[in-house]
């Protein structure tokens, strides 16, 4: 039985027999190459992620006033935050925003994606661009734009609502506590409806055309096709969008902060991150801010897990 030696085998045999200094250096260099490629990540992650994460934990058990001055207080920061009526307000506002995003924004995004999905390619690009456009400018610029659109009597939004319904011309969106959060929801709707639509559109493009046609031939109506063919294909992406959009909603800050130039009358536009920001950078209390950060993480993780779990059980039913 003759053995044919491949060049690699010959080479490794030579290396094994006589590990010269050059070969050893070569082996060492080869072994550390992937780590050196990852070196920037290790450094940045250690200094600006792992260490701060540990530090946030330590901070959350301390009372601080500005950088450098602190005293251990145990769980007092958490107790203070959980009992603070401002935090309750922030929690309520943020939850209101998240629920509105889920119930208004995502169905609209999906509807637009359905409308767009079967269009001709060239016009499709145009409509996709038009609906996606607000995302290019981000939360701050959208907030700046909407401070003007919501102006009583002269703002574009008030004028159009007035023309359509006969009411609302003098509506004080940004100074009436009852209407502050709805105003934020409207601005966010305009901003994010196109963003989520892109995801649904990508999912819809993965729906098999053959399967749709087969369902039509078998006599399924539009509803039947949607429920039995489109829905199962879109469910994974829909779960992803729901989770990502909830996580994003719970971190809402810049849009209301710029739109209201602060937190709104009677804190009516205060969000959880806004509460964190005001504690950390307006009161200089980094300890309380770190505690709020951990509470927010807990909320986000819980909600994401529940959503992923729910979508899993729904899939099993269908």
């Amino acid at each position: 039985m003759s053995q044919v030696q491949t060049p690699q085998a010959v080479a490794s045999g030579v290396l094994a027999a006589k590990p010269s200094a050059g070969a050893r250096r070569y082996k060492f260099r080869k072994a550390i190459t992937p780590y050196s490629f990852l070196l920037p990540y290790f450094l940045v992650t250690f200094v600006f992620f792992l260490y701060p994460l540990l530090y946030a934990t330590i901070l959350s058990f301390h009372m601080t006033s500005g950088p450098g001055v602190r005293r251990f207080v145990g769980l007092d920061n958490f107790a203070f935050v959980l009992a603070d009526p401002d935090f309750h307000r922030a929690l309520y506002n943020t939850a209101f925003f998240a629920v509105c995003s889920l119930l208004i924004q995502l169905p609209l995004s999906f509807g637009l994606a359905m409308l767009l999905n079967s269009g001709k390619s060239r016009l499709k690009g145009f409509f996709r661009l038009a609906i996606f456009a607000p995302n290019l400018v981000g939360q701050v610029f959208v907030a700046i734009l909407f401070t003007m659109l919501f102006t009583p009597r002269y703002g574009l939004f008030n004028r159009i609502v007035h023309i359509l319904t006969g009411f609302g011309l003098e509506q004080r969106w940004l100074t009436d506590p009852r209407w502050v959060m709805p105003a934020v929801v409207i601005a966010a709707l305009w901003l994010y409806v196109g963003f989520n639509m892109i995801y649904f559109l990508a999912a819809l493009q993965n729906v098999s055309r053959d399967l749709v046609e087969a369902a039509w031939i078998d006599g399924a109506g539009p509803w039947g096709v949607f429920w039995n063919v489109t829905r199962p294909a879109v469910t994974p992406v829909a779960t992803f969008v729901v989770v990502v959009s909830s996580i994003g909603s719970f971190q809402l800050f810049e849009l209301p902060y710029v739109l209201l130039q602060g937190y709104g009358p009677k804190n009516s536009g205060l969000t959880i991150v806004g509460y964190l920001y005001s504690n950390a950078f307006e009161n200089g209390d980094l300890g309380t801010a770190a505690a709020v950060g951990w509470l927010l993480t807990l909320i986000i993780l819980t909600i994401s897990l529940i959503q992923i779990k729910l979508s899993g059980t729904m899939e099993n039913d269908g």
């Binding site: 260099r29 920037p40 509807g111 607000p134 981000g138 659109l149 995801y199 990508a202 950390a280």
Partner: protein
């Protein structure tokens, strides 16, 4: 009844008529009507912004969009807002022109984009194309770290930046995000498709490992790179929270922070900061039009399996 209500009513009544004549016509009509309506609603604020930026401050509130034809004159539509915007203004740190903020934003966004493109693609390449001890652990750690919201790190990072003496320096904004787990993961997914034979061929020809990464692997993931650059550029261009905290000197501020200041300063003359907003959305718009295709595929690459 006014004109707008009548138009909407007509659009709504045509649908059942079409639908009764032929189902298919009805649905096609509804689709187009819905799309056109949505496109109008989405673009209207931009049209309004464009008109407001060119209107004179005396007629700013008088017309919804541009003045009527018979009142169209240099007194109602002119460049005054832009002239006021770009004139150098006295601030605590001397005269600063709007161009300065524009240049700051451009510099910061491009530098961040370039640095994180290099670092993230390097990390992604290592995780995609090398088998080494601990790579599963690193990947798992990265995915876990994505679940921690960034704001948790805000307070401790403020102290760290302060201790490092990086307050009021651009590196406070560039370095912390220079090698994000999100970016490395995106590049890893794209680089997995680079054929191992190609890399092996490069090695046999005597390329250094870095040259294989740069000249053989990276050209193959150009679409992903385009998408990543656009996402990073937009995020930094629109970023407000971090610059607002870490930058202090007026002449170092970026556009979102300055335009937020202008809301208070130009409350009575808001055409000026709307002109500023219009100028500020030009660079992202140009970049998006250039990279639209890559952007959409990159955006959805994490969520949709092909």
């Amino acid at each position: 009844m006014n004109a707008l209500q009548i138009v909407l009513l007509i659009i709504a009544t045509v649908f059942p008529i079409m639908w009764l004549v032929r189902r298919k016509w009805g649905w096609t009509y509804a689709r187009w009507a819905g799309l056109i309506l949505a496109a109008i609603i989405m673009t209207l604020p931009f049209v309004w912004l464009f008109c407001a930026a060119f209107k004179d401050k005396t007629v700013l509130n008088e017309y919804m969009f541009l003045p009527s034809i018979d009142r169209l004159s240099p007194e109602t539509v002119n460049l005054d807002n832009f002239i006021e915007l770009f004139s150098a203004k006295q601030t605590v740190s001397g005269k600063v022109s709007f161009w300065r903020y524009f240049a700051n934003s451009l510099f910061l966004a491009s530098t961040t984009t370039f640095i994180s493109m290099v670092f993230c693609s390097m990390g992604g390449y290592a995780l995609a194309k090398y088998r080494f001890r601990g790579r599963h652990a690193i990947l798992g750690f990265m995915l876990a770290s994505l679940t921690i919201p960034g704001v948790v790190l805000l307070a401790p990072n403020f102290e760290i930046i302060y201790q490092l003496g990086w307050m009021d320096k651009y590196r406070a904004l560039i370095v912390p995000g220079a090698a994000s787990a999100f970016g490395i993961f995106l590049f890893r997914q794209a680089l997995l498709n680079v054929p191992a034979d190609l890399i092996e061929a490069g090695r046999i020809d005597g390329c250094s490992e870095f040259r294989i990464y740069l000249q053989l692997a990276m050209p193959l993931v150009r679409p992903m790179t385009g998408a990543f650059c656009l996402i990073t550029f937009l995020a930094q261009w629109n970023s407000f929270l971090a610059p607002n905290i870490f930058l202090q000197s007026q002449e170092k501020l970026t556009l979102p922070v300055v335009l937020n200041q202008y809301i208070g300063e130009y409350a009575q003359q808001y055409g000026v900061f709307l002109a500023g907003t219009l100028v500020a959305i030009i660079p992202p718009a140009i970049l998006f039009l250039a990279l639209q295709r890559e952007f959409i595929s990159g955006l959805t690459s994490g969520a949709v399996k092909q």
